[in-house]
Every structure is written in C-alpha cells, then in structure tokens.
C-alpha cells in the first residue's frame, strides 16, 4: 500500500515518470531481496522507513526545479503529506510494537563479542519490544567508535583481519548500546586424534585454534556439536567444553570456530574385565596397571572385521602406555597410541610402558578395543 501511495504522491507532484520509475523500482528491488532474507514484516517496515526517509529529498528537489505555480502546488502537497505522515506515525506508534531494547549475544566471553571469522561477519543484534518480544531488526545502525580500526558497514557487517578490540555503537532510533568487539581471527583449527573415552569419563574437547602466525588463539566463540548424544555429550567444563562418554558406540563431533570447521570421531567403550569374546560392533575397555618393567598381553581373536585398538591414559595425564600387536596386519591410526588392525589369525596385543617413564611408579590407563561391525 505504501508503494502505491508513494507513486501517487510522486505523480501528483509532477515528478518525471522515468525518475519516479527509477526510485520506485529501486525500492521494489531491495524490498524483494529483503523479503527473502528477513521476511515480509521486516521488508515492509524497511520500505516504509526508506520511503519516509526519502520523501523530503524528493519533495525539495521538485520544489527547487519547478515553476512558481508548481512550487505552490507542491508546497500544498507537502503540507498534506506532512499531516498524513504525522497521523500515520501516530497510528503506527499506537498500533505496532515499538523497539525497547537492543540485545547483543555475549559470545564466549563475558566481556564482549568474540569474532573469530576471517570473512565478513554480521553482528547479531536482536531488537526486543518492552514485553521482550523479538522485532524485525531493520534500521539498526552500527558505527565504529574507538579501539582498533576495523571496517564496519552501517548494516553491521564487520571484517576482522587482525587481532584487536574495538568499541562499536549500535543504535536504532533513540536506542543506543555499546558493544566491545573482540577480533581474534582464526586461520586454522586442528586436532591430532580420535577421541577415546570410557563410559562416564570426560575430557576437554581436544583441538587447537591458530592465527596467521600459527600461534594459539585462546579467546574463541563457536559451536561444538555431537552427532549422537546417546553415545556422548558435550558439556561446559572449567576451561572450555568437555566431551563425556555416555554409552558404548561411535559418533562424530563437529567443532566450528569462525569460518573454520573440524570433524572428530568419538569412540566410547564399556568397562570389561577381558577382551575375550568381543562381538562385532562392540566397544570394550580394559583397565591396565603396569608396575616396574611389566608388560601385559591379551589375545585378539581372528575376525573378518577390523579392530581399532588404543591405549588411553588416565585423566589428563601424559600417555605413558605403548602398544604393540603381533600376528595381525596393523596400520597406525591418527597417533602413536592407536592402530587399525586386521587379524586373520589370532593375534596378541602387548601393552608396555614408555622408556621415558619413571620405572618405579605405577602407570595406569585403559586398553580400548573396538571390533568393527560386519559390512
């Protein structure tokens, strides 16, 4: 409706039809792209806002270029338009929900919004009315105020090319809030291993985020999600996020920081007292305690499926257990503490302690074995 009103107004004022076409066409084109991106309420709000914002320029231009008679005519139209606008705005303020609060998610830090993206990042601001209902955010303006210079568009698209902090002003009409933006661009995230857990145990999600100079980035904002939460779950830990084993099985864990993503496989094992009789698809964990120069061994039964065999240290301790498998064809997995093996005949798994370890102290850990499912 606002489009046809604006069109009639331009026509009444005697604006060149081609010029009116260009203005109305631009509004229609941007409205249609906002309709797809933000939904109809937000797009309509933007159109009204933009039309009202543009009207004074167009009217002044018409008055400036027109004859005296036309100027008087246009002035009359302007007065009428001003009355209509005032009444419309009053109706809008009564009939619609008004923005009351701008809310910025805090990200991973209590003190500001952490941005790890290299690509332009949209500052996520939510507009709420006085009852706490979410409103379309059309018209929110963003402005750099102080700190590290960083480009930000009026629509809130910011580019973090180097580490640093900046203060931004986020405003919508009379609403104004200050935002501390903490740029910590992450160029890569890495993880060197599969995650092996005994049911009930938890470890920090093992990954490393690095900057352009390959230095660790510790201030991170992102998402860690688990594919099958019946096997393992992700929870908040003292330092970061923990992954906890819930039930025997395998699943995947996705880490997303900035524009970077990483996948890790997670294997959860049930505690058992022997690996004899392990079935296809079964994940078992056997406690290992080594004193002095002890070596323990177990038989790995011949099977058409493959095995994944690993030694897991207790807690966050350094892994001092070592593996050797005799009688099976094995290839190292992602680290020196695990192997993929094919045992066409019965094989033997040996667990011994690292030569670097203190021989007088007891070494504790777990032997984890996953017999893969039949194809």
């Amino acid at each position: 409706m606002i489009a046809s009103t604006l069109e009639r107004l331009l026509s009444l004022l005697g604006v060149d039809p081609e010029f009116a076409d260009a203005v109305l066409g631009d509004l229609a084109e941007e409205h249609s792209s906002r309709l797809i991106r933000d939904g109809s309420a937000a797009a309509d709000w933007w159109y009204t806002h933009e039309a009202l914002r543009s009207a004074p320029y167009l009217l002044v231009e018409v008055v400036r270029l027109a004859s005296w008679r036309s100027r008087a005519w246009a002035a009359g139209i302007m007065a009428a338009a001003a009355c209509i606008t005032t009444v419309s705005l009053m109706a809008l303020s009564v009939g619609t929900r008004r923005p009351a609060r701008l809310v910025i998610p805090s990200g991973s830090s209590e003190h500001g919004l952490v941005v790890n993206n290299l690509r332009p990042f949209q500052i996520p601001v939510t507009v709420l009315d006085s009852a706490g209902r979410v409103l379309p955010d059309t018209g929110v303006q963003y402005r750099w105020v102080s700190g590290m210079p960083m480009p930000v568009t009026p629509g809130g698209l910011v580019t973090c090319s180097q580490p640093g902090d900046a203060v931004m002003h986020v405003s919508l009409g009379p609403l104004l809030t200050e935002l501390l933006l903490r740029c910590r661009p992450v160029h890569d995230i890495r993880s060197g291993r599969m995650i092996n857990l005994v049911v009930g145990d938890a470890i920090d999600v093992p990954f490393l985020a690095v900057d352009a100079e390959d230095r660790e980035v510790t201030m991170l904002s992102g998402q860690i999600t688990i594919q099958d939460s019946s096997v393992a779950t992700v929870e908040a830990g003292e330092q970061g996020r923990l992954v906890r084993g819930r039930a025997p099985g395998s699943t995947g864990l996705n880490v997303k920081v900035g524009d970077k993503a990483l996948f890790m496989s997670v294997h959860v094992y049930e505690p058992v007292s022997t690996i004899d009789g392990i079935k296809p698809g079964q994940h078992v964990a056997l406690p290992v305690r080594l004193s002095g120069a002890e070596t323990h061994s177990w038989m790995l039964a011949a099977a058409p499926e493959g095995y994944y065999v690993a030694v897991i240290p207790d807690g966050d301790e350094q892994n001092l257990l070592r593996l050797s498998i005799v009688g099976a064809r094995c290839v190292p997995a992602l680290d020196s503490h695990s192997f993929f093996c094919l045992a066409q005949h019965d094989a033997t798994v040996f667990v011994y302690r690292s030569g670097e370890s203190n021989q007088s102290a007891e070494v504790r850990g777990t032997l984890a074995v996953w017999r893969q499912s039949r194809p």
Binding site: F19, E50, A55
Partner: protein, 111 residues
C-alpha cells in the same frame, strides 16, 4: 553557469558510477557507497545527488528494460561523461595538491 566543482558526496557517487561501469544504477551505487564510505544514503538523497550531477553534465542516464524484480519498472543506468571524467581528474589533482608536502604525521597542538 554550470558549477564544475564536485562536493564530497558527489565525488563519491561519480567514482561509484565509474567503478560499477555498465551496472551503475541507483541501488548498486547506494550499496557501493555504503560499503566504501559507511554512509547509508536514502534512495531520495542518492537520486537527488545523481540528478544534480546529470544536470551539471557529469553523468548521463538511460532507462533499461523493465524487470519483474522491480515490479515491472526500469532501471536508470548512469554513465560518466567526458566532462564528468575531467571533473574527477580535477578533484583528484586538487586533493593531491592540498595534501602535498605533508610528509609526517599530523601532530595536534598541545595547550
């Protein structure tokens, strides 16, 4: 007499039209200006600026074929004229000359 000087916004709009070449129409120019200058001009403000530049002879325009995404309306495509190109060059030279000789950082006067 035609004013051959370019204001800051006029110069930015002229440069945007020059950069966008065959795709220089209102919406594209407005987005380009928003990205480069951080100014979110209203459609009305932009078209009055482009109209003024056209009146000065620095831009010419033509209308494109109507498109469905614009509700069956045409785009007004802008192009820099030779007078416009000359005005851009003069603005650049003017800028260079007023910056010339300033080889060190500007230090504010202390009181």
């Amino acid at each position: 007499m035609t004013n051959t000087k370019l204001g800051t916004l006029e110069l930015a709009a002229m440069l945007a039209v020059a950069r966008l070449a065959s795709n220089a129409y209102g919406l594209a120019v407005r987005k380009d200006l928003a990205e480069r200058t951080g100014r979110d001009l209203s459609v009305g403000a932009l078209y009055t600026t482009l109209g003024r530049l056209e009146k000065k002879g620095f831009l010419i325009s033509r209308t494109s074929e109507p498109t469905p995404v614009r509700g069956g309306r045409s785009r007004r495509m802008y192009q820099v004229t030779s007078a416009g190109a000359q005005a851009i060059r003069e603005a650049e030279q003017h800028s260079v000359s007023i910056w010339a000789g300033l080889g060190s950082p500007i230090i504010p006067e202390t009181t």
